[in-house]
């Protein structure tokens, strides 16, 4: 019964992800249909990949018929941040959580689901993850479907504004802990500053966004871990 409770909580906590994903995947659906994918292909991609940046980036590769290796490499670079996230998640799961659960949880490692999972109090229960995944992936698929089939009926300005939803959600996740802890605040400001620099500075600005994000994550988290190591029991 406890797992039913956990599942319901996951669903409830995932509602903002649902709406954020609805907006972002709506934009993805429109882009996909413009680049020549039909509705079924767009929805199939959302169902099997569940990754915003990777899916958006793939559209041009598919349109240009690049080699499968090039596409695989691009996805690897853009999505390698999930490697860090999955590693962080292993520390939230109990040792008793079996391989089948781990394989299923892995399906839903996205920036947003990861953020909610890793900041959950105590150990992460698989049923909570399944709740998050159910609601989030529903939004992701529904938005893709609507965008690919009927995207053009919405005015462009509404779609652009809906695109801000996902960033709003990120900000809502990082700001409250940054208020409580100076180390987190430093991490947030450091990562933002470095991201700003790497977006506009010569040479480094040519890196893909996925690659930029992983460099920043590794460098800033390493500095934070060295300057402000966490004490045992700090983890909530």
């Amino acid at each position: 019964m406890q797992s039913v409770q956990e599942y319901k909580e996951g669903i409830k906590h995932g509602i903002p992800i649902f709406t954020g994903y609805l907006a972002v995947s709506f934009a993805f659906g429109i882009a996909a249909s413009e680049k020549g994918l039909n509705v079924i292909q767009a929805v199939f991609m959302s169902l099997t990949n569940v990754t915003s940046a990777g899916q958006f980036a793939s559209l041009d590769s598919i349109k240009n018929q690049v080699s499968l290796f090039e596409l695989a490499f691009l996805q690897f670079i853009i999505n390698i941040r999930y490697l860090l996230m999955s590693t962080a998640l292993t520390q939230k799961l109990g040792k008793e959580v079996g391989i089948l659960h781990r394989c299923l949880i892995a399906y839903g490692v996205t920036d947003e689901i990861f953020a909610l999972s890793v900041l959950r109090h105590g150990k992460l229960k698989p049923s909570y993850s399944y709740g998050l995944i159910t609601i989030s992936v529903s939004g992701w698929i529904l938005g893709t479907f609507l965008g690919a089939s009927a995207g053009k009926i919405l005015p462009a300005i509404v779609i652009s504004c809906l695109g801000l939803a996902i960033y709003g959600m990120f900000i809502a996740i990082i700001i409250p802990p940054a208020k409580e802890s100076r180390a987190v605040l430093g991490t947030v400001l450091g990562a933002m500053g470095m991201s700003f620099f790497m977006t506009y500075a010569p040479i480094v600005s040519r890196l893909s966004s996925g690659f930029r994000i992983i460099i920043i994550t590794v460098v800033v988290s390493m500095i934070a871990a060295t300057v402000a190591p966490r004490l045992e029991g700090d983890e909530k």
Partner: protein
């Protein structure tokens, strides 16, 4: 023309392997205090880098409009509003500013 479904399956496979390997291979607790600290800071660094400056470069919006969205989100998050309210506030603020600017031009 190569089959689009093959492209999609290759993408899905690469992405899934990245997600599943650490979760299945790392079973125990990592003992090193430094690595644990590092992993604790990862989500904050990643989300910050993904948000900024990307939020200011939203396609189809004026810089000022996305700035309005950013500031609203920061303010609402600072007041500890829920994820949904912060996200909705950012969209709404950008929408209003964008409409005003479009009307002016």
């Amino acid at each position: 023309m190569r089959n689009i479904y093959i492209y999609i399956m290759v993408m899905a496979l690469v992405t899934y392997l990245i997600r599943v390997l650490p979760l299945t291979l790392i079973r125990g607790e990592i003992k090193s205090k430094w690595i644990r600290s590092f992993l604790y800071y990862v989500p904050f660094a990643t989300l910050s880098a993904m948000t900024f400056p990307a939020i200011l470069k939203t396609e189809g919006l004026y810089f000022v409009s996305s700035m309005a969205g950013l500031i609203s989100a920061l303010f609402l998050a600072y007041c500890k509003k829920s994820l949904l309210k912060v996200a909705a506030g950012a969209c709404l603020a950008a929408f209003v500013v964008q409409l005003v600017l479009l009307y002016w031009k």
